[in-house]
């Protein structure tokens, strides 16, 4: 489920001027969320019906081997001690051993994480670079009901782009620009030119959605009284849009930007598959299909943690940007 119309902040506590208390509260929330995340990823293996070890080892696995592996994974211990052991492992950076490659999972993650990070961060930046100028420009162009044709065209085009699944976009991009035109490499992570197609595939959909939302936000902001004041001050149009309107439109855009980064991260799962990108996305799919649960657990943790960090960053950015921001209680 992609775009969701989240209502603006509806309740707020009294603004507590102290950044320390803000920081503490946020940090506390982060820790709690992390704990929930770790517990969920721990429970994952136990929710799966059947025997995960046997499913992974398959044949050539006489009962003794299965037993040995279960013992190695600690699955023959009582649940609580497994949990504590898992917590300890997470805190010390030990995520176990992969069942298929027998490499330490932390090594797999540290090898593949940079590729996914690079891809999703770049895609996020590109999405912003597409969306902010486009949304702002279109907002200015279509304010007050002007340029209805342009508005319709933009709404339709951005809706279409937003509706194309990213793996389909990736395949089409490869077909057109790599296979047919030979402008870019077909797959793999190499020099800068190898980033272009995967980043585009990831960024186009969310960028289009963000541009639409930004335009609507900007239109709403342009209706506000302070814009009229700015016009009364006879500031040049550019100053009005960039210094007065845009910062006010950005607050909800940032919230959505955070959401989009999550969507982007999700997109890496599919796009990496199309482009043979050596990141976490392709790892998690192959691990799920191979039933390599230690890897799946760890990747889920990493993704979850990353998204929590993004949320935190969004909250901080919002607090910085909007001086009125009221900090919500839970």
């Amino acid at each position: 489920m992609t775009s969701l119309a989240v209502p603006a902040r509806s309740i707020g506590a009294v603004l507590n001027n102290s950044w320390v208390s803000f920081g503490l509260r946020r940090a506390g929330r982060l820790v709690v969320s992390l704990w929930v995340l770790v517990t969920a990823s721990f429970l994952m293996i136990h929710l799966i019906p059947g025997d995960p070890v046997r499913a992974a080892l398959g044949i050539g696995a006489p009962p003794s081997l299965v037993q040995a592996r279960r013992h190695a994974l600690g699955l023959d211990q009582p649940l609580l001690s497994q949990y504590l052991h898992y917590l300890h492992g997470v805190l010390t950076g030990d995520f176990g051993i992969s069942m298929t490659s027998e490499l330490p999972v932390s090594e797999i993650i540290s090898q593949r994480l940079p590729a996914t990070l690079a891809l999703s961060l770049l895609a996020f930046l590109v999405a912003l670079l597409i969306a902010v100028p486009l949304g702002t420009g279109l907002g200015v162009l279509t304010r007050g009901g002007r340029a209805r044709g342009a508005e319709l065209a933009f709404t339709t085009a951005s809706a279409i782009f937003g509706a194309i699944p990213d793996f389909l976009a990736g395949v089409l991009l490869v077909w057109l620009f790599a296979v047919r035109l030979h402008w870019f490499p077909v797959a793999g992570r190499g020099g800068p030119s190898s980033y272009v197609l995967p980043v585009l595939a990831l960024a186009i959909g969310p960028g289009a959605v963000l541009a639409r939302i930004l335009r609507v936000e900007l239109l709403a902001v342009l209706q506000q009284d302070f814009v009229r004041t700015a016009r009364a001050k006879r500031l040049p149009a550019l100053a009005i849009y960039l210094k007065h309107a845009l910062p006010n439109a950005l607050t909800s855009t940032i919230t959505l930007g955070g959401l989009l980064l999550s969507v982007m991260v999700a997109g890496t799962v599919l796009v990496e598959n199309v482009f043979a990108w050596p990141g976490l996305g392709s790892t998690i799919v192959s691990s799920i299909l191979d039933k390599d649960y230690p890897v799946v657990q760890a990747v889920v943790l990493v993704y979850g943690f990353g998204v929590l960090l993004v949320n935190l960053a969004v909250d901080i950015a919002l607090a910085l940007l909007d001086p009125r921001s009221t900090i919500r209680e839970a």
Partner: protein
């Protein structure tokens, strides 16, 4: 479909095939589009980039016979003997060989060095064989390439290895040609092999990034390749970069753009690559093979049911759909080159397509159709769990739908179950919840089949279909007394027996192609021979 890779070959955990030696290559097109191959220029050096469809995992060559690991092992390790595509045994680590009864004596090449600098001696070779033959070590090669219970001794002074087999093995040398040898240090400390290589092969692993790429660099002074091939030959790449590319279409694209030098492609992209006139090295193999679960209580235990299910299918049509028109009907059960016993043991023995006869047979067998069309006997409905491998992608599911449709007409309740390689192997070899399975088994010599077609059932043995066919057993017993190819008539007759009894129905062969760009190479039994690579062209 996520990974429409080539059909894998199963055995114990994706058994590869009896490979080894010699250069026989089907050159379909010269690179560069010229119609004459005579003016090939071999520009050696550089890096040869090779695409594999999945990560090999633990790199110990003797711990698993997964096909991707098997391929990589041949880059860094050597077998004792090699075999060319016509079946002729040639030298590799051993320069001379003699088989007498239950004993095999090999004379080792002098001055073989390992990548870690140590020498590979006769005792090392013997230690390898003993390690594999020891059931304690659970090597998948035991009982297939090297008979279980074989004992080897090495004499370093004479440089000979003597292997005593528990019983006569007709294709023992073929078997030895399929087993990569590891160096002394690693025999005892297997952990050395998990992420590194320690072998005698022409290349050695220098960098490993799991699930991404492995880089191997050429070793100098290597002279014990198949039939004496060495790394000094012109045209050999300085390094080999093995890239893991699960998506076959991506691999095809990379081939076309030159970012890959070689990859095995079997899906719809074959057309594009052929149209681009890429070099291709081909291996015939079994692609579609139907098995019936003959465990007690299963409908497949009844031969009439098996025959009826087989006769309800127009296998020619099924084959066409399964291979998207690129395949051929089945020929032998052991179809990998080098085919030890060439011939056609299948087509004459195949039960013919006759839906009405199948219905009649079931009627007389006591399976009467109910009001919903499903046949029942003694209150039990004729329900079949139909397992097929998803590796063939859309073509596979289409063929499966075709078959399921035919069986529905027969009055059978079909539950279709599509599973990927891992899950299919798990079902066949562990959980056993299947009745009909489409899973290809590829070996090159018929004696490698015996464990699958008879003997102890899983999990103790390899007989996952619970086949108990006395006629087959008798013919096999006879064939095993004969040496090598002399027993082929019996082996082929044994094949035919299995087919006519509907124990196993190979319905499609397909040529597996390894395509190449800006390089040429030889593929023996589906494995790319590193010493055969010639860059450029």
């Amino acid at each position: 479909m996520g990974t429409p890779a080539k059909p894998r070959w199963i055995g114990r955990r994706q058994l590869g095939l009896a490979a080894v030696a010699s250069l026989t290559v089907t050159v379909l097109a010269a690179c560069g589009g010229s119609n004459s191959a005579s003016t090939k220029t071999a520009t050696g050096g550089g890096t040869f980039t090779f695409g594999l469809s999945s990560d090999p995992g633990n790199l110990d060559p003797q711990a698993s016979a997964a096909s991707n690991l098997y391929q990589m092992s041949f880059l860094a390790y050597d077998p004792l003997l090699s075999i060319d595509n016509s079946g002729k045994i040639q030298s590799q680590l051993a320069t001379a060989w003699k088989v007498s009864g239950k004993q095999v004596v090999l004379t080792m090449h002098k001055a073989i060095t390992c990548s870690d600098g140590s020498a590979f001696t006769a005792t090392t070779a013997a230690a390898n064989v003993n390690y594999i033959a020891d059931p304690k070590n659970k090597s998948p090669f035991a009982g297939v390439f090297i008979p279980a219970g074989a004992k080897a001794t090495g004499d370093d002074s004479t440089g000979t290895v003597t292997i005593d087999l528990p019983s006569a093995a007709p294709f023992a040398l073929n078997g030895l040609a399929g087993v990569p040898m590891v160096c002394q240090k690693a025999i005892t400390d297997r952990s050395l092999l998990a992420h590194k290589t320690d072998g005698t092969g022409p290349y050695t692993l220098s960098t490993a990034v799991a699930n991404d790429h492995y880089t191997l660099t050429k070793r100098t002074g290597y002279t014990w390749g198949p039939n004496g091939a060495s790394t000094a030959a012109a045209g050999l790449p300085d390094s080999i970069n093995v890239r893991i590319i699960p998506n076959e279409t991506t691999a095809a694209n990379l081939l076309l753009s030159g970012q890959l030098n070689a990859a095995a492609i079997t899906g719809p992209d074959v057309q594009r690559l052929q149209a681009a006139k890429l070099f291709a090295a081909a291996t015939p193999s079994v692609s579609g093979e139907m098995w019936f679960n003959q465990a007690a209580g299963r409908p497949g235990a009844d031969q009439q049911v098996r025959l009826a299910l087989t006769r309800a299918l127009d296998l020619g049509q099924v084959e066409k759909v399964w291979t998207s028109g690129r395949g051929t009907p089945g020929t032998t059960l052991a179809a990998n080159a080098p085919v030890a016993c060439p011939g056609d043991s299948v087509s004459s023995a195949l039960p013919s397509f006759a839906l009405d006869a199948a219905k009649a047979a079931l009627d007389s067998d006591g399976w009467t159709a109910g009001s919903d069309g499903i046949r029942t006997k003694n209150g039990k409905p004729l329900a079949v769990t139909f397992l097929y491998n998803t590796q063939t992608g859309a073509a596979g599911s289409a063929a499966a739908e075709l078959a399921a449709g035919q069986w529905k007409q027969l009055g059978v309740k079909v539950t279709m179950k599509a599973q990927d390689e891992t899950a299919a192997v798990n079902t066949l070899f562990s959980t056993g919840t299947w009745d009909v399975a489409w899973e290809p088994l590829n070996v090159s010599s018929p004696d490698q089949l015996v464990g699958f077609m008879s003997g102890p059932v899983v999990p103790a043995g390899e007989n996952f279909a619970h086949i108990k066919d006395p006629a087959y057993d008798a013919l096999v017993a006879k064939a095993q007394t004969m040496q090598g190819a002399a027993g082929c008539p019996q082996w082929l007759a044994a094949d035919s027996t299995l087919v006519s009894h509907a124990d196993v129905i190979p319905f499609a062969n397909q040529v597996q192609q390894v395509f190449g760009k800006n390089a040429q190479f030889a593929v023996v039994s589906g494995e790319l021979q590193p010493t055969s690579i010639r860059m450029g062209g």
